[in-house]
């Protein structure tokens, strides 16, 4: 499928990137096709003359890992087939030609306190350390991770410097300010609507060529900007030398070295930002990329027709960007401006013999390369095409034969550690709760209040609290995976499978986050560019078993399975993944039918996870878990207890009392629905109350089974109570089959209210209704099939 053609400018033969063997380094000639995906490829550095090295195929042969501009990018074969390349030494394009230097624009002074608040926004490529800096500056503990797309919303914090209080806004990472994905749209709209007093542009100092592309777009916005050169320590280690002063002069912005993770340079960055804000009070000269006489004249002409628009927007109008063109709609002469913009665009395209998007991207990268040629001296000892430090572990972790087994072993290890290591502190907490219960039992006089405290509060909250160690261990493990950079590799490894089921490789990241909590996982789908991909991912994420369901599994596995407990726990998670995959196939072949989606993802370098970050993440999750105990789970336990306690009937046994309570009546009403799954009414009620938060499934069991216990019975754990629970006919309520059927139902049935609210925010009420009906239907069906078949064999 080798494609030969004569390049329009020079006599060179071209091939397709997809046909290049592993290890080959070639030069990009052009990206074919059109549309947003092509634009994304251009913006990620697939521009004329850029050198690309084919690094490896994913274990399932698709996607392929490429290195371009020092970044590792993953592309599917079908997408690589859109990139035309030629020999790496072919002389067809001198990128230095595209370097025209800068032009200066006069910008009137502004009063930074006009809206009574000093606002600085953090803008930068994904995974360049914006949130690390934000946490360092504001004292916040926002989630960070070594992969792009951790931040999908704006986060606001405050700092004070020189006696002035400043609001700092952390925006999602973006490769450009073009509206390719929802988070790019979000960043662009936020800057346009909120008029920040300064932009703090964070760039990865080790990957300036790609990162400074976004800087050139910010330069055109004529907003005071400071460039923070993050990961400066890595640049120094690499042996490259950057002349910061010269670079600052070229960009017309202060550049400050920074190492955000340890806080080196933070104060300098803030001082430089304040100085830039102070300067903006006077009339200043802003530096812009010089696009050459034809484009500059076009910008000037159109800028005079729309004096209210900044240079960035005017350029976007020339580029035929629909969102920029919409801004013209309120103008009286909108049609005149649009038609002149079209004429100018055609003129430029004719002159450059290319399309406008490629022209502007080439010119911006040309500017960046020209500037770096002046200011950056690369380490002379590094060979061209050599992999940067931080990728050596890929030889093992994305190895063709070992990658998938390693992924499965890592998952198993995570669950096994959660189970076995967590069991010891769990026993201590259980004993502590038992001791408190006994002490209160002796200290308080008999009566309704004592029943509430012991059966309602200690039985309900205590039943869930004992699983705190396991939750902490699970989040510690997830944090290690996130910080190391393995998350992006996992997406790379499974993309082929995800693609087969109609999902995007990037959906893997929301799925993994979903093992923690469904709400941030649903929010994380914002990194998916295609709305249908997002919808399919949003609707299937709840099948990834969240940590709130974990207490129920831990309780049931510990009580009814004596061997291979880690494997049984893992099987539940794998069934969730399987159901998610089947659902994705079903949705993408029916109501959410769509064309195949493209996959471009950056693979970050591996970094050593820091104990501090992992502990902070674990602590923050543990705190949230305890907060939930003290609030929603406590309140729900009290309500469940009250519904199981009232109305009171004289002369009844505790068993009869609870069966005749409001809760008992409710449970009996739904019992026919859950009986075919092997459940009794207590289990039916538990899944209902779990709607508020999944931990309440266990706390409800804690309350209902504590209430059932004989007053003379010695205090035993909930696990032992479930093991000894019997039906009226004397048979045990639970056995391994019932326990597994119950776990399947808990895994699959509708998500908690917080997750449903997140689905409503991201997709709307219609999809919330669909999700509730669909997930509950699937849960019932899967549990029913499992229970009935297991009983037969």
């Amino acid at each position: 499928m080798i494609k030969k053609q004569e390049d329009s400018n020079k006599n060179i033969s071209t091939r397709l990137l997809d046909d290049e063997p592993v290890g080959m380094t070639v030069q990009v000639v052009r990206v074919m096709g059109d549309g947003a995906f092509r634009q994304r490829l251009l913006e990620m550095g697939f521009v004329r003359g850029a050198k690309v090295t084919v690094l490896k195929n994913a274990p399932l042969q698709d996607p392929v890992e490429y290195m371009i501009m020092g970044s590792h990018i993953s592309l599917r074969h079908s997408e690589a087939a859109q990139v035309e390349v030629t020999d790496k030494d072919a002389e067809f394009c001198d990128m230095e030609d595209a370097f025209n230097g800068i032009v200066e624009t006069e910008v009137a002074g502004v009063d930074p306190m006009a809206d009574n608040v000093l606002r600085v926004v953090l803008v930068g490529n994904p995974n360049c350390g914006k949130t690390s800096l934000f946490n360092n500056v504001t004292g916040a503990k926002e989630k960070v991770g070594n992969y792009g797309g951790v931040t999908v919303d704006s986060k606001e914090g405050w700092f004070s410097i020189g006696g002035r209080k400043v609001q700092l806004v952390d925006l999602p990472g973006t490769y450009s300010l073009t509206e390719y994905s929802p988070e790019e749209m979000y960043v662009r709209t936020y800057i346009r609507d909120n008029h920040p007093d300064a932009i703090l542009n964070i760039v990865d100092a080790g990957n300036l060529e790609r990162n400074l592309y976004l800087t050139t777009q910010i330069m055109d916005m004529n907003i005071p900007m400071v460039v923070a050169l993050n990961m400066w320590d890595e640049l120094e280690k690499s042996g490259d030398k950057l002349d910061i002063e010269m670079m600052s002069r070229l960009l017309g912005a202060r550049m400050v070295p920074l190492t955000a993770y340890n806080g080196h340079g933070v104060k300098d960055v803030l001082q430089a930002t304040m100085a830039a804000i102070d300067e903006s009070e006077q009339e200043t000269m802003h530096h812009n990329v010089n696009y050459g006489p034809l484009i500059e004249d076009s910008l000037k002409e159109l800028g005079e027709m729309c004096p209210e628009l900044d240079r960035y927007t005017v350029l976007k109008i020339i580029e035929n960007d629909q969102h920029a063109i919409e801004l013209l709609n309120n103008k009286d002469d909108a049609e005149t401006v649009k038609s002149r913009a079209t004429e100018l665009r055609q003129l430029i395209e004719r002159d450059f013999n290319s399309d406008i998007v490629s022209i502007i991207t080439d010119l911006k990268y040309g500017f960046v390369r020209g500037a770096l040629a002046e200011a950056l001296t690369p380490n002379p000892n590094r060979a061209t095409g050599e992999t940067k430090p931080g990728y050596s572990m890929d030889r093992l972790l994305t190895n063709r034969w070992l990658a998938l087994p390693i992924l499965l072993v890592l998952m198993w290890l995570m669950f096994e550690l959660t189970f076995t290591l967590g069991a010891y502190p769990q026993d201590w907490i259980e004993s502590g709760i038992g001791w408190i219960g006994e002490w209160i039992g002796k200290a308080m006089p008999d009566g309704i209040l004592k029943d509430l405290v012991i059966d309602g509060i200690i039985g309900g909250v205590g039943g869930v609290l004992v699983f705190l160690p396991q939750i902490l261990i699970l989040f510690f493990c997830i944090s290690l995976l996130e910080d190391s950079g393995y998350m992006a590799r996992a997406a790379f490894i499974v993309d082929r499978i995800m693609h087969r089921v109609g999902l995007h490789g990037k959906s893997f990241i929301p799925y993994l986050i979903g093992f923690g909590c469904g709400v941030p996982a649903i929010m994380a789908t914002r990194t998916l560019e295609n709305r249908r991909d997002r919808l399919v991912t949003i609707l299937t994420v709840p099948f990834m078993s969240c940590s709130a369901r974990l207490p129920a599994y831990l309780l049931l596995v510990a009580a009814f399975f004596t061997a291979n407990q880690g494997l049984i726990l893992m099987s539940i998670y794998l069934i969730g993944i399987l159901i998610a995959a089947l659902t994705a196939i079903l949705l993408s072949k029916t109501i959410l039918k769509h064309d195949k989606t493209q996959f471009v993802m950056e693979l970050p370098p591996y970094r050593k996870p820091t104990a501090r970050n992992a502990t902070l993440h674990m602590w923050s999750k543990g705190k949230q878990y305890l907060q939930k105990m003290a609030t929603i789970i406590l309140a729900a336990s009290i309500i469940v207890w009250a519904l199981g306690y009232f109305p009171r009937h004289e002369g009844q046994t505790p068993q009869e009392q609870i069966e005749n309570s409001y809760m008992g009546q409710m449970g009996k009403a739904i019992e026919p629905l859950v009986e075919p799954l092997g459940f009794n009414w207590q289990m039916g009620v538990s899944v209902l109350t779990g709607a508020a938060a999944k931990e309440i499934v266990v706390s409800t069991m804690g309350v209902l089974y504590t209430g059932e216990s004989d007053a003379t019975e010695e205090s035993t754990s909930l696990k032992e109570k479930l093991q000894s629970a019997t039906k009226p006919n004397g048979e045990h309520v639970f056995d391994p089959i019932v326990a597994y059927s119950f776990m399947l139902f808990i895994l699959l049935y509708f998500p908690c209210i917080a997750a449903l609210a997140a689905i409503k925010r991201e997709a709307g009420w219609k999809w919330v209704a669909f999700e509730v009906v669909y997930t509950t239907g699937v849960a019932w069906l899967v549990s029913f099939i499992f229970y009935q078949i297991a009983r037969m064999v």
Binding site: G139, G157, K621, I753, K760
Partner: protein
């Protein structure tokens, strides 16, 4: 019923009522998208000002 059990019943019913109101408010706030669900997804409203003076 003794005085003590009447008082205990009133206290318990009060606690149950507070719990009920709390859960309802929480559910309403969450579904309207204003609540902090405690999952790490919400706003950073408790963030304190850090000083660099």
């Amino acid at each position: 019923m003794t005085d003590s059990s009447i008082i205990q019943t009133i206290v318990v019913l009060g606690i149950v009522a507070v719990a009920l109101v709390y859960v309802l408010r929480r559910v309403i706030k969450t579904t309207r998208g204003h609540g902090d669900c405690g999952c790490g997804c919400g706003k950073n409203c408790k963030c304190k000002t850090k000083h660099f003076d």
